[in-house]
């Protein structure tokens, strides 16, 4: 009977492998992808232990639970399997060790169960996930009892048979679940870490730029699950339905019909016809759709699996990606689906049609004259680079320049740069929109047209670096223009201001006692990892800084990105109102911002609320006070 447990393990592994292979056949429906297998495999332990752990550890309970249950499960199973070797299988000491491992697994299973019973948190899915602790417990307790009996030398007693039977039910159940149940995440997750579509993420580099789309491809964007590359399909299968993305999603919080977890599950369910029903939180306030039962059908549409409202509610804030322990790339999926809707079906959000057409025709989303971009600086006598050919700093103004309110920020920035003696110039009427908006709305063709034109324009001038106050422009210029041949040093204005202060070229005054909370723009904090410079500037002007519940790379979106204000999908509340609520909770008198979009969104909140001031405005105010 010493072989019974190892045999069970081998049957489990065989079953799990068979189930995984059945599933893999579906992944292979996806488009081809280039995967660096060797480096991926070598990096797997590090990716798992460092990168995944970094995310998992944000939830201390889950982290402990997972370490115990997964560690116990793997160790116990491997050890039990090794007992096939007569030298080990015959050792009672060995069985004691195996029993210990199963004991740990059992403890972990109890932790899993304790999270779900008597009541599970809302973000966790029910359904098959509710059975998981029982399967785990059965396998672990059975294994524990069996190994103990073997350790005590009590082979082939009815008790041992009963223990093995219990373990077999649990173990085979877990193995069976590899195709469609919770345990899929283990197999798919491991493979996904090897074949991740953005390996750059693990090299402590920020790999957040959208990949350019081949405009000559037979089909633009993803219409059905089969249009995603196979390793993306694999990545969606690795979702453990932990709901961390759902908790982080601003659209979900606002009651808009988007839930990133559900979205990923819809992509998964669209692959096969027999996926078990989804048992997590729905898309809030979603309109009824009538999903087709056929696999690989069209994903988006009022009559498809995902209503277009869901697709267009996303602000592309990447909060979901940041929180996902399985390193799933939700935003890439959303943009891919949007590209298909916009470019193949001409169905961008209703209000986007004119905006996109103005971007194509006039290089500007509002159809305003490019020469009017510098109107905000009337009287400031902005130097235009075409008149000089070169400058140390090229100031990229961005779309905010057309906005009355944001013009104040830019004027403050211009004054500060003048005070510090920075040699700068603007492109003036040669500056087009970066195309960020078009791209996030799925209009890659217009984006590429604008990107090429901007790269061409910038290529004509000599400058040391580009400074911009617009994180969206910064992200485009710094990260997304590279493939079009634009490689520059791109600096956010808050970083420049900090640098100028530290070099002694700006002498900040002291805004003593002014309590300020800083709102991180998604495209600066999460997309570009810059969270410190603005905070340091605030500290240097003597503001008493308080943090909101969500800040830094885990900050919450203002609701302004990804074209969401244009899609304007209805919800229960507005995202900026929620964010402003978090600012109000801190009791701060001022919300410091560093982005034209955040400024506009937060300024749009009505009622009694803190003032909204850009870092540049606050710095200038401190200097005026100090002077």
């Amino acid at each position: 009977m010493t072989y019974a447990l190892p045999v069970l393990v081998f049957v489990m592994v065989a079953l799990a492998t068979a189930q995984a292979l059945r599933r893999a056949a579906w992944w292979r429906q996806g488009a081809a992808a280039e995967v660096a297998w060797g480096p991926g495999l070598l990096a797997l332990p590090r990716r798992y232990l460092v990168d995944v752990h970094h995310v998992v550890a944000r939830d201390a309970y889950a982290s402990r639970m997972h370490a115990v249950v997964a560690g116990g499960l793997i160790v116990a199973t491997v050890l039990a399997g090794l007992a096939i070797l007569p030298s080990l299988g015959g050792s009672r000491l060995y069985w004691a060790i195996v029993a210990l491992a199963f004991g740990v697994t059992a403890a972990g299973s109890l932790l899993v169960g304790a999270r779900r019973y008597p009541a599970k948190p809302r973000r966790l899915s029910g359904g098959r996930f509710q059975i998981l602790p029982f399967l785990l417990l059965a396998y672990a307790l059975g294994g524990l009892a069996g190994a103990l009996l073997l350790a005590l030398g009590a082979a082939s007693t009815p008790a041992l048979i009963a223990a093995l039977a219990l373990s077999g039910v649990g173990g085979l159940g877990l193995a069976y679940e590899v195709r469609r149940g919770p345990m899929r995440h283990a197999v798919a997750g491991a493979l996904h870490l090897v074949a991740h579509p953005r390996p750059g993420r693990f090299r402590s580099r920020l790999d957040t730029a959208l990949a350019p789309l081949d405009l000559d491809a037979a089909r633009l964007g993803a219409e059905t699950p089969a249009d995603f590359t196979w390793n993306r399909l694999l990545s969606y299968d690795s979702c453990i339905q932990c709901g961390r993305c759902e908790t982080a999603c601003p659209a979900f919080a606002a009651g808009q019909p988007l839930n990133p977890k559900r979205l990923i599950q819809d992509l998964v369910a669209g692959m096969t016809a027999d996926e078990p029903p989804y048992a997590g939180s729905p898309y809030p306030n979603a309109r009824e759709v009538d999903p087709p039962a056929a696999p690989l059908a069209r994903l988006i549409g009022p009559d498809a699996r995902i209503h277009p409202d869901t697709l267009w509610a996303c602000t592309t804030c990447r909060a979901c990606v940041e929180e996902c322990p399985m390193m799933i790339e939700h935003v890439d999926a959303i943009v891919s689906l949007r590209r298909n809707e916009t470019m193949e079906f001409a169905r961008p959000p209703e209000k986007a049609a004119d905006i996109l057409s103005d971007l194509r025709g006039a290089g500007e989303p509002g159809g305003r004259a490019l020469s009017a971009r510098t109107d905000f600086a009337a009287g400031l006598d902005l130097p235009v680079i075409s008149a000089r050919g070169e400058a140390d700093v090229l100031l990229w103004l961005g779309e905010g320049a057309y906005d009355l309110r944001y013009g104040r920020t830019l004027r403050a920035l211009v004054r500060l740069m003048r005070d510090a003696g920075v040699d700068f110039a603007v492109l003036g009427a040669e500056e087009r929109d970066t195309g960020d908006l078009a791209r996030r709305l799925g209009d890659e063709a217009t984006y590429q047209q604008l990107a090429r034109a901007n790269v061409e324009t910038l290529g004509r001038y000599r400058f040391g670096r580009i400074v911009t106050a617009d994180p969206h422009a910064l992200h485009a210029l710094r990260n997304e223009y590279r493939v079009f041949g634009g490689e520059w040093t791109v600096v956010h204005h808050t970083a420049l201001l900090l640098e100028l202060i530290e070099a002694g070229r700006l002498k900040p005054g002291v805004l003593g006692g002014l309590s300020v909370t800083y709102h991180d723009p998604c495209y600066l904090g999460r997309y570009n990892g810059e969270t410190e410079a603005p905070r340091k500037v605030l500290d240097l002007i003597g503001a008493s800084r308080v943090e909101m519940a969500r800040s830094g790379r885990r900050s919450m979106c203002c609701g302004g990105g990804g074209g969401a204000p244009i899609s304007d999908v209805a919800g229960d509340r507005r995202i900026p109102d929620i964010r402003m609520g978090q600012a109000i909770e801190t009791g701060a008198a001022v919300v410091a911002v560093a982005c034209p979009t955040c400024t506009a969104m937060l300024e749009g909140v009505t009622g009694v609320r803190p003032d909204v001031k850009d870092i540049a405005e606050l710095l200038l105010a401190s200097m005026e006070l100090g002077a």
Binding site: K351, R405, P565, A570, R574, A600, E603, G604, T606
Partner: protein, 395 residues
Amino acid sequence: MTRVRRDPRADRRAAQIASLDRPRFDLAGRAADGGPGRPRRNPRTEFAALRVTGAARPRFDRQHRGEGAVAQVVSAASTPNVIVVDAPAFLVAVVPDAPGGRLTQHDRQLFGAARTLAGAHGAVAALVAGEIEGLGAIGADRVAALASTQNYAPDVTAAALASAFAALSPRHLLFPETPDGGDLARRLALLTGEPLFPDVEQLSATSVSRAARGKRVAQRAAPARLMTLGADVVAPYSGPAREGRSEPLPTAEVSAPAITDARRIPADPATTPLTVADFVVSAGNGVTDIEAFRRLAEALGATPGASRVLCDAGLMPRASQVGASGSVLTATCYLALGVAGAPQHLQGVAGCEHVVAVNTDLHAAMIERAGLAIVQDAQLVMPALIAALESERAS
């Protein structure tokens, strides 16, 4: 300012004798003017014509000096204040829209333009289908009746106009640049082969100009024979009444109209899209009594709008949102009740000619933008407005 400036060039042109290979002028004769020699002025009649009626003390309107009063003006014995032009040198004809027989403001402006072009020697002729009252008062010296069509039949009307054009041979024929006027003008241009100078934006006796190429250039020319006049570019005629003598027209042949049925659907302010509505009354966060607001919009015959706050709150439909992320208006008048005037909101109102604001906050941006600002609670003003409109209607 009382004296009419003479345009020597126009005079010369008027005196030119037609159909000679070399230009020749009949400077003494002026057969067309009806009398030999220079036109005589009668300062007394002229002055009388300038007198403002109804004023207690004699007052004279020199600004609108009734240009026609210079020559050949004989006050009709029976109606002393009507200007009569007996034998005009030429005609300037206008084709007012007059929907439903009522003259629009644009139509009145058409007469103002025609008067400018007619100058001292010409007469203004109105070409109208059906009975329209008060054409003399707004500046018609002549009224020619076109055969009226039962239904909307622009092809038939254009044919009738073409025959009137041939019969009267006016120096200019003016249309308002409206859907109907603009359509007739273009039909006539094709029927007569006469070039059209459309959408005049600026007009004087000697030149007209219009915008072209996406408002990048202004084209200037001498007044053409066929022109359409933009809205609100020329003041209506406001001199003393004119005779409005009826001018006979030969009957035109009527062909079968190509349009077999036409029905006018009046604008319903409640459903007119905000972007084209002429009068919008809008509610902001300061309006709590939405029911009263709806009744007010109806009583005023205005299209209801709202600020985003109310749309977000679901109190008003999303389609009624005014502003950057809502509708951008082209209304003549915007009546804003309890709207703060956030920049995103004001973007939607930028094109409105008149803004009236009711707000409790004297320093609200909307108050600043308004031509008439009422610092008062909207909840008090709305019922007062409804009551005032109702009592007017009742009386």
